[in-house]
Amino acid sequence: MSDARSADGEVRFEKVRKAFGTNVVVRELDLAIRGGEFVSLLGPSGCGKTTTLRMLAGLEFPTSGSISIGGRVVNEVAPGARDVAMVFQSYALYPHMTVAENIAYPLRKRGVPKPEREQRVQRAAESLHLTELLSRKPRQLSGGQQQRVALGRALVRDPRVFLLDEPLSNLDAKLRAHMRAELIELHARIRRTFIYVTHDQLEAMTMSDRIAVMHEGVLQQFGTPAEVYNRPANLFVAGFIGAPTMNLLHGQAAEGAFHHPALGLPFAGGSPPASGQRLVLGLRPEDVVLGTGPFAARIRLVEPHGHEQIVQLDIEGGDTLTIRADAALPLAAGEALRWGLRTARLHLFNAESGGRIDAAFTAPAEAAAA
């Protein structure tokens, strides 16, 4: 049963391009989403993620390329006939209808007979704890309740694909965390395809099976949260995913090593970048070891966070590193200290193209810093 279901909710973008006049919003998008998968479209505002979602909903037409749902090309299919449900950032509840009428609306438009309609509205309301609110108007509800009604209106139809456009961005932080958990549970329960647009990497990382990172209309990387975090495909993904963000050090390849005024890292085996090539080394804040190591630095700032401290280190070459350190470590601004790296967890990028370079490093000798 689950197999039939998966083929059902499969979504495919092929060479999809969208331009408004001369302004190209989505370029050559190829994306294949499996049925039942929870996929986030993640990127800064203006990256084309919402346009991508709206094209899938049928609210925008692609300039070229094809979009298919469940194996059927839907370019020419009206939004209502695509069997997708959408939750809008603004919730878009119909202000003149009660909660019950709002939830029943998609069923009414599909000609579901009244007794069944009422039954399904009741069921959707129960699963979202809305039963008490069914006779209210949207303006009498809190933001969180409105959010639930919007979800209910999507849920009641049992569509093949759920489209969610930043549904949590209008909620306060506490409610957002709560709704995140509810969405994960909901997806686990109904196993439908969820396509979730967000600019919040935390939402994308915590909820998704896979994340599609977009920037300036171009798909940067499509992978699981672990892949996107541990093997960012390029400098944009590296800089966008992770908080605090990855430290990026500009340097150059010379004599089989990466060179930066503060550190030299010999490449290990494989085919190291050619000498003279400009490179960017990426260090996650948690992949730096403080206290011992081959390199020297001075502490600029310490931010205690309770369970950890975020430390800004001034290193040679005028760069500053942001480091995640154990809360127990005695650190104070102005102090000099030694530091080292987990060489297995470093990232290397081509400075010109921004693309990832797969390179391994050997641990630098203690003397290399001198």
Binding site: G80, S90, A92, Y94, G143, R153
Partner: protein
């Protein structure tokens, strides 16, 4: 102390304005129920010594007043229906759809207001003759539509701009057709705007004089404005008491409509549907 004085001054001023505005109306009502002989007494009496409804009776039973009233009602209602139907769909198109020349079109619509209506009357009259509808209620409906529609379009456009796109999009995704979404979602949201536009159009048509005077010269198609003038004002004599009674009765439909629709105008529904 100063504040109280200011308040008193403000209130006095406000009542003065009310008095200046309302006095002619009050005088109209009072005159309409005075017997003929009391009208020109010097000094004039404010409260009539004797109240009579003979003028009303004469108007209703002995003159074509009811015919004019019927014409005016048909004319204003038809104009309002045509203008609101076209303007609602047109405004929706101007707000929601993207097509070349959309903004230009919206501005061009206002161009009709640059020309004084006197300039447009003769061409319009010739067109009516050419269409074969001259001297009929239909010709007036068409003429009134030409100047009520542009304003109605702009009024409704600004109303519709306040309705979030997402509402219509949600209806489309929920399975409504374009028309279905329009009727289910847009229309209820635009209702206060549609009501005020209807009111505006109705009043405009009800009070219009110039076009009615030029385009129609038969009692069968004369509305109240020109009909009453034609009937009661001749070169030698003005029948003041009849005129005042007619004026009172002409005002009544508008007052009823206003009283009925006012609550729709001020009711702020639409609030709270969309957050952010």
């Amino acid at each position: 102390m100063k504040r109280i004085a200011g308040r008193i001054a403000f209130n006095l001023f406000a009542w003065l304005v009310v008095f200046v505005t309302a006095f002619p109306l009050v005088w109209m009502v009072i005159t309409s129920v005075k017997p003929q002989f009391e009208l020109f007494r010097i000094p004039p009496t404010f409260w009539p010594e004797q109240i009579t409804f003979e003028h009303y009776a004469r108007l209703l039973w002995e003159t074509p007043f009811l015919l004019y009233m019927r014409n005016s009602l048909i004319l204003s209602t038809a104009t309002t229906v045509v203008v609101v139907a076209v303007a609602t769909l047109g405004a929706h198109s101007l707000v929601r759809f993207r097509y070349p020349g959309r903004e230009k079109l919206a501005q061009l619509v206002l161009f009709t207001y640059l020309l004084p209506s006197v300039v447009l009357i003769l061409p319009l009259y010739l067109m009516m003759v050419w269409l074969g509808v001259a001297n009929s209620l239909l010709s007036l409906v068409i003429a009134y539509t030409t100047f009520a529609l542009p304003y109605a379009l702009w009024l409704l456009r600004s109303f519709m701009q306040g309705i979030p796109d997402d509402l219509e999009n949600a209806a489309l995704v929920d399975g409504a057709t374009r028309m279905g979404a329009f009727f289910d979602v847009i229309l209820p949201q635009a209702l206060p705007g549609i009501i005020s536009t209807s009111l505006f159009t109705f009043i405009l048509s009800w009070n219009e004089y110039l076009y009615a005077l030029v385009l129609v010269n038969t009692d069968a198609a004369r509305p109240l404005t020109t009909g009453v003038m034609n009937m009661l004002i001749s070169a030698f004599n003005i029948e003041w008491s009849l005129l005042m009674a007619a004026s009172v009765m002409m005002s009544i439909p508008l007052i009823i409509i206003f009283a009925f629709l006012q609550k729709f105008l001020t009711r702020g529904f639409g609030a709270g549907g969309v957050k952010g």
